[in-house]
């Protein structure tokens, strides 16, 4: 791959998305219309982690 992508920068934004979504759920007061849509957002965020976020420090052990 010749082209360089901003992996670290993207990973940071993905972490921020996840944090924001979790925070939204924390303050939802149990409103299902919020909680369930946040779950869907988090599923999409997980795909971003799989595609980009998990590449950061691939030699590390996050277990």
């Amino acid at each position: 791959m010749v082209k360089e992508y901003k992996i670290e920068d993207m990973a940071e934004k993905i972490r921020l998305l996840k944090k924001t979504a979790a925070e939204l759920k924390r303050i939802s007061g149990g409103i299902q219309a919020v909680d369930r849509n946040v779950d869907r957002i988090l599923a999409s965020v997980k795909m971003l982690e799989i595609n980009i976020g998990d590449l950061v420090d691939i030699s590390g052990d996050d277990s």
Binding site: M1, I7, I50, I58, G60, D61, D62, S63
Partner: protein
């Protein structure tokens, strides 16, 4: 072409091998730890083997992890939490989709999907469909039953994720599906090789030439080995005037392999799976090309029903091509899934893969698409019968066709057959997966 126009994820798909292997080891450790901590089935399996997740430090340690197989999954299900049993690794309230295996090899295996796992399924399909050239301008027709079996469900959502316009052809019959595909000018569809050929046959009966009267440019073939059998692929591509791409997966595993446009073999989706090839007789790990074995596969990042070192019984071999011209670093399998370890059987002392017979039959243009193989025993001796159809317009050449068939079968399979020639259209037709190989020896 820019990398992002060529690959769904240019970073993962062209990751240098060394980094890809580090990535896989990290992912393997993660799913192993998850399963150990969340699934009573896996915890019990590993404790019995004296294994803890921390014991796996290097790639060489992975073979220490006990394998699983379908019979173990079947045994664990049907209990609480019902119906998934002790493999379930998330609270059952998080399960949002029910799927099950087709039951081709026995009792179906129930498969739970959380919303996240289902998103994963669509994501994995997006890698394949993008490699085949599906783009947001494609109108993709899905001619399958939208039932409890997973079939092309994830293909639907994978195409949607890419931005394609997806047309569900669920309850329509084959004629109605073809007419709808023509009416809306669908540019791609997905089906089993059996059904791809069957649809072409039906279109011709409607007076349509699929290659000229429809608008299909790409076909995803899955569910059976056909698209990597050269003669079958050729028939499908000629019938539809379209490129046919092989795609492999299973309910328990998810989608795990695809052809790129170079069509030099089947790429393993290595960012999502670890594939090992095991020598069926010795159990040794096969890493070099040219030697067939049974696939042992681990799926990363699918958490409700983990799939770790699952012996799928798919027979595969590594390709000698080290780097595909498409630029992907995902390793290639030669000829895709060659068959199933369950299907490869000894007949008259010779190892026989049903796909070898298919390659012979479909390579003779005077024969129809359908065939049937029946193995029986006469006394102590195996007896094998091959039923074929002569294509319309070739009936007068029957003896020359028979001669060609006998020669090719002898050459490619090393066996002599009782040959039966049937009228065109009289052998069974199948809508999804075909059952053309019938070994009746154990029943006699």
């Amino acid at each position: 072409m820019k990398p992002e126009e060529q690959y769904w994820n240019p970073v993962l798909e062209t990751l240098p091998r060394e980094k890809l292997q580090q990535f896989q080891l990290k992912k393997f450790k993660n799913i192993l730890k998850w399963a150990y901590e969340n699934s009573p089935f896996y915890r019990s399996l590993y404790k019995s083997a004296g294994l803890e997740p921390g014991d796996i430090r290097t790639a060489d340690d992975i073979v220490k992890v006990p394998k699983t197989e379908k019979s173990m999954l079947r045994e664990a299900q049907g209990r609480e939490p019902y119906p998934y049993g002790s493999i379930l690794s998330v609270p059952i309230e998080q399960v949002t989709e029910y799927r099950q295996t087709s039951g081709t090899t026995g009792q179906p295996v129930y498969h739970p999907e959380t919303w996240q796992d289902w998103e994963w399924s669509a994501e994995s399909w997006a890698y394949a469909l993008y490699a085949y050239g599906y783009r947001d301008y494609d109108r993709v027709f899905l001619p399958f039953g939208y039932s409890v079996n997973i079939a092309f469900w994830a293909g639907h959502y994978g195409a949607e994720k890419i931005g394609c316009e997806v047309v569900p052809g669920g309850v329509l019959d084959t004629e109605a599906r073809i007419l709808k595909m023509k009416e809306i000018r669908a540019t791609a569809f997905m089906a089993t090789p059996t059904y791809i050929l069957g649809m072409a046959d039906t279109a011709r009966k409607l007076g349509l030439d699929p290659a000229k009267d429809l608008y299909i440019k790409k076909i995803t073939a899955a569910g059976e080995p056909g698209a990597c059998v050269p003669a079958t692929k050729k028939r499908m591509e000629e019938a539809w005037g379209a490129k046919v791409y092989d795609q492999v997966g299973a309910t328990e595993i998810g989608h795990w392999g695809f052809e790129c446009q170079a069509q030099a073999g089947l790429h393993v989706l290595e960012a999502f799976h670890l594939v090992e090839i095991e020598d069926v007789e010795t159990g040794a790990n096969i890493t070099e090309p040219g030697k067939r074995g049974s696939m042992v596969i681990t799926t990363f990042d699918r958490f409700a029903h983990p799939c770790i070192r699952f012996d799928s019984k798919d027979v595969i071999e590594w390709s000698p091509v080290e780097r595909c011209e498409c630029g992907r670093t995902f390793r290639l399998l030669k000829g895709g899934v060659v068959g199933r370890a369950d299907d490869i059987t000894k007949v008259k002392g010779v190892l026989l893969a049903p796909t070898a017979i298919e390659e012979v039959v479909r390579d003779i243009p005077e024969l129809g698409d359908e065939y049937e193989v029946i193995v029986t025993k006469k006394g102590d001796i195996d007896d094998i019968t091959l039923k074929v159809e002569i294509a319309p317009d070739f009936k007068r050449n029957a003896s020359a066709i028979e001669q060609k068939l006998v020669q090719q079968l002898r050459l490619k399979t090393g066996l002599r057959y009782n040959l039966e020639f049937h009228d065109y259209g009289t052998l069974p037709r199948y809508d999804v997966k075909a059952k053309r190989f019938k070994d009746l020896r154990h029943k006699e």
